[in-house]
Amino acid sequence: MSWNSLSDFLAMGGRGFFVWGSYGAAFILIVAELWLLRVRRRQSLQRLYQLQQIEKD
Amino acid sequence: MNIFLAVLRRDLLLAWRGRSDLLVALAFFLIVASLFPFGVGADPVQLRAIGPGVVWVAALLASLLALPRLFAQDHDSGVLEQLLLSPEPAVIWVSAKILAHWIATGLPLVLIAPLLGLMYRLEPGATQVLIASLALGTPILSLIGAIGAALTLGLRGAGSLLALLVLPLFVPVLVFGAGAVDAWAGGMSIAPHLSLLGGGSLAALALAPFACAAALRLACE
């Protein structure tokens, strides 16, 4: 284990910005993708359901 | 005034919905600018030297490219006739169309310029001057370009004719625009360049819509 403390870990040998910048962006993007996927599923179910109701009449 | 807003809204909506002019100009700008390294090689020193020139040429081409479509679609579909039949003076909606065109094609260039600065590794100061010169210069391109677009509307070979007509008028803008960055890099004052661009913008703003409106009436005869 090469880390002595949390702040040491976060500093990444003075390159924290670059390391956490990459991982952070990746994390945000992946969360965003998952969230958009959820939204898409919900919205398309809603839309399709409405269309189905309309077509029934 | 109502018609000004209506035309502005619709043209922006169309630019957004078709993403046509908006993205064409922007995409073209980015493409031209980012193709250069492939063509001339990736040597950073050389890239930095030609950077501002490339960005300005790209901006000019992007404006030129978007111009033929400024009135063409409305002309073909009959919308232009309806606009000419409006009781409001034609300068009003002509100005709105030009403004919308600038917002959709000129403004994105200004906003994306910092990215190109990074790509060509310009210094931050040079990038700022570049942005300022684009912000002051691109309105002239749209305004003068609109006259050309109106004059060549519906003609054979409108595209090349338009290019021929407006190019001589665009070159000074290019020279001052790219010159501003060079002046900054050479440690000289950039005020003359920028104030010429600004003055040109104002003059074009005052005159171009009238010329453009007259040309459009002719085109619809």
């Binding site: 040998g13 910005f17 390391v19 | 090689g41 990736a42």
Partner: protein, 246 residues
Amino acid sequence: MNIFRFSSPQTFYPLAGKLIPVFGTLAVLCTIIGLYLGFFVAPTDAVQGEVYRIIYLHVAAAWMSMFIYLVMAFWSAIGLGLGTRLSFYMTQALAPTGALFCFIALWSGALWGRPTWGAYWVWDARLTSQLLLLFLYFGFIALTRSIEDPRRADKAGAIIALVGAVNVPIIHFSVKWWSTLHQGASVSMTKSSMESSMLWGMLIMAFAAWFYSLAVTLARARCIILERERHTDWAAAEIAAKGAKA
């Protein structure tokens, strides 16, 4: 009418539904193990220091972005050859995830480049071809999105995916050749023999990315299937059941 054509999405839909949680769990597990190995077991790099730890993200994302494009081309060829709709759905479901990984690779590479090469961006072969790959992804997505008729979108997307796939190796080699022709040694990577914990960390992260892509793609494919098959009886039943709650 081909039975195979119709039955496929129908059987695939519930199967995908069952597989998603499995792959999702595997992705989370692999990420945890991989990052643990990478951040807590693997030593500091002798040359680069700590910043090299971007590698666990960067390489996995870069590999995945290239792999996904190949898979898309594969499904496109199947779709155009056999006319199976499911392959088109898969192609379209894969694209956003591929673009995402492509972007992550570019982003992490750029952030890695600054401390190691002194610039966020250089016109190097690998970087450039990765950028062009991102454009290929964007092109595919933009094309399929802007075509309203779904049948046309399917086939047009398949055509461009295949044309792009033919070009990926060409792009790679041309750009490689180009930059080695022009450019001195301004870019060179420190190739030290890799510690096994680093290697394992990297590989396990690659698997994490793979499982993640599988899970997300299947979920997206399920949405597409429902939208496109809504006139079939089974999909209508599914929509009636789930839609009321949504």
